[in-house]
């Protein structure tokens, strides 16, 4: 780290320094990116093992555009997905959780029949729609950005249902739905005691056929169960579409999930004004008929009770009530007339409803061996919560949704101030770690200067029950600006530039099992550009349109590959200057944005890389 610019210095000393650099026509930039030595950092949660620093089961959540409650679209939490099954044949219910970015983890229950115990979550090989990482600075206008965002779009908001169709012994298989309404079948590629869900290369191209519609619904939330008792598993799904929102059933004509026709889809229950529906199936009142428990946008858990008569296509399951604390009657609302169809509008306002906090997902399992179903919820704040059933087989009761406490904790990551790290876990870079590391934290690695450095690697929390997750081989080769290679992480820092000036960069780096490393630098001019207004004549009159000029990314023709060894090495790039045409309106402006992007590809699960003392030199 250059200690001349970054520390607190006296005025006289600063003048001397400035004079020195003026004479040598060379300035080492601090400015916007002063943290070249990675001395400053802020804490961030490390949820790579599904546990936060306070010991609660926590999952990364994602937000995305969904139909909002107020009629339009809104950026809302997409909810992570939970499903319950015995995944390692020990007779205990385990909890699978799909995080907001499409990483599937499993909390294995290591307790007993009567007392569940969870330590941390293990990561599976599941990886649907692996997203590329962009390795250059991109703006909203660039194809690279669009491609990346498109991949992230398909990646986020995936939801799951574990099920056993009997075709794989006692192993549970996986049904996955995307927020865009597609459905995928993942057979359990592990063993009875070591589940896993490796995807074949082209699975994105082979969703479960669902008839003639290109999609089933948005924010699709599945649950697999034999609803009509014909010994064929059916798919029940709730939707969060720009629509009325309903719960549908896909009646299966075969033993496994492979294909559905248009006429296999039937309305099972209406949302009745509720939206973002996530259902699960359970015999709620012990009458031998399957019922529905449904979470919805407001965080309430709705109960739909099946009538005594056997269900047939065309029948819809009526809304019954929302779950209340301890099963008490809804309070603060008029008494419910059991002779009339119940209306959620009436019961919304009850003051004693259990509430998950917002858009959530739900599953059930018996976690304390009392033969009563308990509830597991994926909460919008990322925590897993369990509500134990304290009622009876015919009258379930739930006192509260308690966040699941684990036997371990995680250590927060130190995020470098002024830098962004893209670790690519959503792209299948499982267990990737990146953060500021203090001296002596990693044996054998000391900072080049100062007391800390930036380190990339992989988490120490290894899978205990399952084999390590497999890194899916990339289907596409890396291209300029995009990396599809597993093990890739990107370090991204904003840098100030001036048009016409020359720059070079230096830093110290080291690493093990580094497959490739590259630095790429670009500049973006003039604070995001300038808005120009023009008029277009139409039959509706003159319409005003606005354009932005000067938002172009201007390459500095600096795109260097560098190599590292396990010892620190100082690397200095060649000089870079933008020689292309600078928009005249921007000639005299100082660009406030620029970027250096360092893309490093490690041997997946094994490599590591360190960087320190990053400097930008203007000449």
């Amino acid at each position: 780290m250059n200690t001349l610019l970054f520390p607190k210095i006296g005025v006289a000393r600063a003048i001397i320094i400035a004079l020195f650099f003026t004479l040598t026509d060379s300035i080492v930039f601090g400015g916007i990116c002063p943290n070249g030595g990675f001395e400053e950092s802020t804490p961030a949660r490390d949820l790579s093992a599904g546990v936060d620093s306070t010991g609660f089961a926590s999952i990364n959540t994602a937000t995305g555009t969904v139909p909002g409650a107020n009629g339009g679209f809104a950026n809302e939490n997409l909810a992570f997905s939970v499903s319950v099954a015995d995944l390692n044949a020990d007779g205990l219910p385990d909890i699978a959780a799909m995080d907001g970015f499409g990483v599937l983890r499993i909390y294995f229950n290591s307790g007993s029949k009567t007392e569940p115990k969870f330590t941390h979550a293990e990561t599976t090989s599941y990886n649907l729609y692996p997203a590329p990482l962009y390795t250059t600075y991109v703006t909203h206008q660039d194809k690279g950005y669009a491609d990346y965002m498109r991949a992230i779009f398909f990646k986020t908001g995936q939801r799951i249902s574990l099920f056993n169709d009997g075709s794989f012994g006692s192993k549970s298989n996986l049904l996955v739905t995307t927020a865009q309404g597609r459905m995928f079948y993942f057979p359990n590629t592990g063993t009875e005691k070591k589940p896993d869900f490796k995807a074949p290369d082209k699975i994105e191209e082979t969703p479960v056929k669902t008839g003639s519609f290109p999609f089933l619904a948005q924010a699709l939330s599945p649950f697999v169960a034999d609803w009509n008792g014909d010994r064929k598993i059916d798919v029940i799904f709730g939707e969060g579409s720009y629509s009325a929102n309903s719960i549908f059933i896909l009646l299966n004509k075969s033993a496994t999930i492979s294909k559905f026709e248009d006429n296999d889809r039937h309305l099972l229950a209406s949302g009745m004004g509720m939206e973002q529906l996530s259902p699960c199936v359970v015999d709620y009142n012990g009458d031998g008929h399957l019922d529905l428990l449904v979470t919805e946008r407001g965080g309430r858990i709705a109960v739909y009770l099946s009538p005594a008569t056997p269900w047939k296509p065309g029948d819809t399951i009526p809304f019954h009530t929302f779950l209340t604390k301890d099963g008490a009657p809804p309070q603060g609302v008029p008494p419910i007339d059991d002779k009339k169809p119940r209306d959620p509008f009436d019961i919304y306002k009850a003051t004693n409803l259990l509430n998950t906090g917002g858009i959530s997902t739900i599953g059930t399992g018996d976690f304390n061996g009392d033969k009563l179903f308990d509830i597991v919820v994926g909460k919008p704040n990322g925590r897993v919560a369990i509500a134990l059933n304290t009622g009876t087989a015919t009258e379930p009761k739930f006192a509260a949704l308690n966040d699941l406490k684990l036997e371990t904790t995680s250590v927060d990551i130190a995020k470098p101030v002024g830098w962004n790290l893209h670790l690519g876990e959503a792209s299948g870079n499982f267990g990737a770690f990146g953060g500021v590391v203090k001296a002596d934290a990693i044996p054998g690695i000391q900072p080049v200067e100062g007391s800390s450095f930036l380190h990339l690697g992989f988490t120490n929390k290894k899978n205990a029950v399952m084999d390590p997750p497999a890194f899916r081989a990339s289907k596409a080769k890396d291209t300029e600006g995009q990396s599809f290679s597993p093990g890739t992480s990107v370090i991204f820092g904003p840098i100030p530039f001036k048009a016409g000036k020359k720059y070079s960069f230096s830093f110290s780096a080291r690493g093990n099992r580094v497959k490739s490393a590259r630095i790429n630098v670009q500049a973006v001019f003039a604070g995001g550009g300038r808005v120009e207004t023009s008029n277009v004549q139409t039959k509706r009159g003159v319409q005003e349109t606005q354009h932005v000029v000067g938002r172009e990314v201007l390459g500095l023709n600096l795109n260097e590959v560098f190599t590292v060894t396990d010892k620190w090495k100082k690397i200095t790039t060649k000089e870079a200057v933008y020689t292309g045409k600078v928009p005249e309106v921007l000639m005299n402006t100082d660009p406030v944005r620029g970027a250096t992007v360092i893309a490093v590809t490690l041997e997946p699960g094994a490599g590591d890389f360190s960087i320190d003392d990053f400097q930008v030199i203007e000449k």
């Binding site: 720009y242 929102n245 309903s246 509430n355 319409q543």
Partner: protein
């Protein structure tokens, strides 16, 4: 002789004891209950006997629904649902526009108390039809009703002809979007507030959106025969007395939330449809049992509360779907947003549409701008990535455009074009549906 007669009469009575006893009991019953009507045939209020008070003859009016109390919502993010009983069975009075008394259920006929305040009929400029002679056979429409409808609905089109025959006719009309209390009545339009000298800020000027685009479409492709355009869309408050001077051919109601009409709004709409007006509801959230879907069906049953007149589906042979419609290629309900294809529902009076309800969110489809060839979306722009200007005659909703094929499906040009054509068919039908009926009223 007289004694013999009396003796014989007594003998006769004695010989017919049963009859005598029965007769005496009847006499006693008549004496006791002679002034009380034990079984009374329920008479419906006379229809459209235009008296001095206005169009609706009966002074009895429906009792107001139970007070809608705005209850506190629990701590949730979606405080959008207005609490209201959905099954609003508290219809304390039944009024109807039908003439057949047998269509009523006696159990439901609890007449409301006479209101202390006269209904707003005094502010109406509705016609005062003549005595109820004649009428339209088979529809229940009296001559008075026919006259009223003729007076209210005439003037939108010149010449005659229905179905595809309307293509040769000229029409001129303004369309209205209903502003109702609560909910989001403007969910498929955008409004701007313009300041005019001396008039300050004018609220709710419609800038663009669903109905403006539909009118733009109909204007553009009718070869100028239908003299309306995107500017001919106004807003109207549902409790406004302007209904009866402006004579809107239909009121477009849209939204995505629960809402409860006020009693003045209900009254106004009831009178409006009684005069031949039409309410066209279009849910901004396709599918059954959305909040708007539930609310619209419930509230329209307050407007037309006849128990026997339930929502019915427009049949496949309805004029808007037959080969005789303005656009004969519309042969069935076109799929709406996200491929929803709910039937078109309606409530009728005199066998004609009074309330039409489309639950496939055509309003959002009409927020997409087709290019002039109607085969592609209007996407021209001199810089990719920036908002395109309006198409030549339609306005593009940029947000929806950005979400197509991501969150909004079935918005490719062929589907959009069909939805526009369906909208045109429906408008033409609403403009012309009474013409033949009121013409055939026997006493006009």
């Amino acid at each position: 002789m007289e004694n013999n007669f009396v003796a014989n009469f007594i003998d006769k009575l004695r010989n017919s004891r049963d009859f005598t006893i029965s007769f005496l009991i009847h006499v006693i019953f008549v004496a006791i209950f002679g002034t009380t009507v034990l079984f009374k045939a329920v008479q419906e209020p006379p229809d459209f006997e235009g008296g001095s008070e206005g169009f609706v003859g009966s002074t009895e009016e429906t009792a107001p629904p139970p007070q809608q109390t705005q209850q506190e919502m629990p701590q949730t993010q979606d405080v959008t649902v207005t609490p209201t009983p959905v099954n609003n069975s508290a219809v304390n009075a039944i009024t109807t526009t039908a003439t057949s008394p047998t269509s009523f259920s006696m159990a439901q006929m609890v007449m409301a108390p006479v209101p202390t305040a006269a209904p707003a009929a005094t502010t109406m400029s509705a016609p005062k039809p003549s005595a109820p002679v004649g009428g339209v056979k088979g529809t229940g429409m009296t001559a008075a009703a026919a006259a009223g409808i003729k007076g209210f609905t005439g003037g939108w089109g010149k010449g005659s002809g229905s179905g595809t025959g309307t293509r040769s006719r000229e029409f001129e009309f303004t369309a209205y979007i209903g502003q109702y209390a609560g909910g989001d009545w403007d969910s498929t339009i955008s409004t701007v507030k313009r300041t005019k000298p001396g008039r300050g800020v004018e609220p709710d000027n419609i800038d663009n959106g669903s109905l403006p685009n539909l009118l733009g479409y109909i204007s553009e492709f009718s070869g100028g025969k239908i003299k309306t355009n995107y500017k001919n869309v106004k807003t109207i408050k549902l409790d406004s007395p302007d209904f009866f001077s402006l004579k809107p051919p239909f009121i477009f109601l849209t939204g995505s939330k629960d809402f409860v009409l006020t009693e003045p709004e209900v009254e106004n709409l009831r009178k409006y449809v009684s005069l031949g007006g039409a309410i066209w509801g279009d849910s901004s959230r396709p599918g059954r049992n959305s909040r708007f879907d539930i609310a619209f069906r419930r509230e329209m049953k307050r407007v037309l509360p006849d128990k026997d007149k339930e929502w019915e589906e427009l049949p496949p042979n309805h004029p808007v779907f037959t080969g005789h419609a303005y656009y004969p290629e519309v042969k069935e309900v076109p799929p709406g947003i996200n491929f929803y294809k709910e039937p078109v529902y309606c409530l009728k009076i005199y066998g004609e549409i009074a309330v039409i309800y489309t639950a496939n969110d055509y309003g959002d489809m009409w927020q997409f701008a087709l290019d002039t060839d109607r085969k592609k979306l209007y996407l021209e722009t001199d810089r990719p990535g920036y908002a395109p200007p309006h198409a030549t005659y339609l306005a593009q909703n940029q947000q929806l455009l950005d979400l197509r094929e991501r969150l909004i499906f079935n918005v490719e040009p062929p589907a959009l074009d069909m939805s526009f054509k369906f909208g045109v068919n429906m408008i033409i039908h609403l403009l012309t549906r009474w013409e033949s009926k009121v013409k055939s009223a026997t006493s006009l």
